[in-house]
Symmetry: C2
Subunit: 210 residues, 2 copies
DNA sequence: TAGATTGTTAATCGATTAACAATC
DNA sequence: TAGATTGTTAATCGATTAACAATC
């Protein structure tokens, strides 16, 4: 039933993961179908917006019935591309890098950490949950020999652009950037930023007064 | 020179930390003044938008001159509320919680982690960079005896709402939520979400095709 | 003064909401 | 069939961009 794909705005895109999260929960709770109105009440959106959002990707619903939860969840899963595995390397094996490698939650969504990289000789050679920490010098060799799609950048901000350039040169198309800088990449590479300090600033700002 | 405060939209608010970050860098590099046009080129925004954004808070610039970098940076610092210290507790001393406690970068912005809390007997009693891990049962006592403004929620998602309720009951007004759920709080409490899985989904989505 | 650049108003663009015919 | 709810078009609202008078 899915029709033609429309342009997906930034605003819509940012809501998709949240829809997916809710629908996963709802399905687990055993609910078979849901209307845009019911979903809107749970998620504190308008029903109109939900229908508009879903219709960017084609009609998943049925008049008079609503949406089949399981079917819709699977559609969103496909749209997000989390129906297949992604292979990830983490560059920078400090606290944050190790935390990402340790976090088992990503695995169930198919994000598999295949290796960590660092320049600290004390870290090189050890392993975290069975994931080895390699010498950063081996980065190119590793990415040549293993099919890696995503690099998580957990280096100090001074090194972020440089290591990004290196992995991009070796064909990686997705950068998950935790360094507090905006990094530049070619058009065909995607950067998703997690600026923790920006997030804290925002929290502080909103606690402040405005 | 700062005029009346205007309403600050979500969109504007999300850009302020980035302005602050850039101006900090520019000041460090020794630049004394900058025009909206120069800044727009660096940040890939329009000069118009930058001027509109700053004018939500009053006029910081001077016709024919531009903006004084140091002054503007300080204004943004005040607006963000990061000119004073914030006391933080981290609930959930797993990988992520420990990484946050370990991360020294927050300290320089005045975000001071005063304690970690967990239910795991193996963790309770040890300390991370001089920050103790306490029994979650001691949460109320601790927040009564220490002036804490922010709680970082790093528990499994099933426990997130519950521990949030507990800290909110004890007067904490800022929640930095790392659990993959949307939590509910009273109107006077601020929640800032860091949904890492949503962020990964978004990355995957954009690598996919759209 | 002349040149530069702001602060601010007006125009445009895009996103959200409302409304309703189509249809299950 | 009657009731419910979608998909989609139109109306509204808000955010971004353009333009320019004010002024340093």
């Amino acid at each position: 039933m899915a029709k033609q794909k429309n342009y997906v705005s930034e605003a819509v895109m940012r809501r998709i993961p949240r829809y997916y999260r809710y629908l996963t929960d709802i399905e687990k709770a055993g609910t078979e179908r849901i209307s845009s109105r019911e979903l809107s009440q749970r998620m504190r959106l308008t029903a109109s917006q939900i229908r508009q959002d879903f219709n960017c990707f084609g009609g998943f619903g049925q008049q008079g019935y609503g949406y089949n939860v399981s079917e819709l969840r699977q559609e969103l899963q496909k749209i997000l591309g989390v129906n297949t595995d992604h292979h990830v390397i983490v560059i920078g094996a400090g606290n944050l890098g190790q935390a990402l490698a340790n976090y088992t939650g990503f695995k169930k969504d198919g994000f598999l950490v295949n290796g960590l990289f660092d320049i600290n000789p004390r870290l090189i050679g050890i392993s975290i949950r069975g994931i080895n920490i390699y010498d950063l010098d081996d980065l190119e060799r590793f990415t040549d020999q293993n099919p890696i799609q995503i690099a998580a950048i957990c280096t100090p901000k001074e090194k972020a652009q440089e290591v990004t350039n290196r992995v991009v040169r070796n064909g990686i198309k997705g950068i998950w950037n935790f360094a507090a800088v905006d990094i530049n990449v070619p058009q065909d590479v995607v950067v998703e930023n997690v600026h923790l300090s920006d997030s804290l600033y925002t929290l502080s700002f909103r606690m402040n007064d405005y």
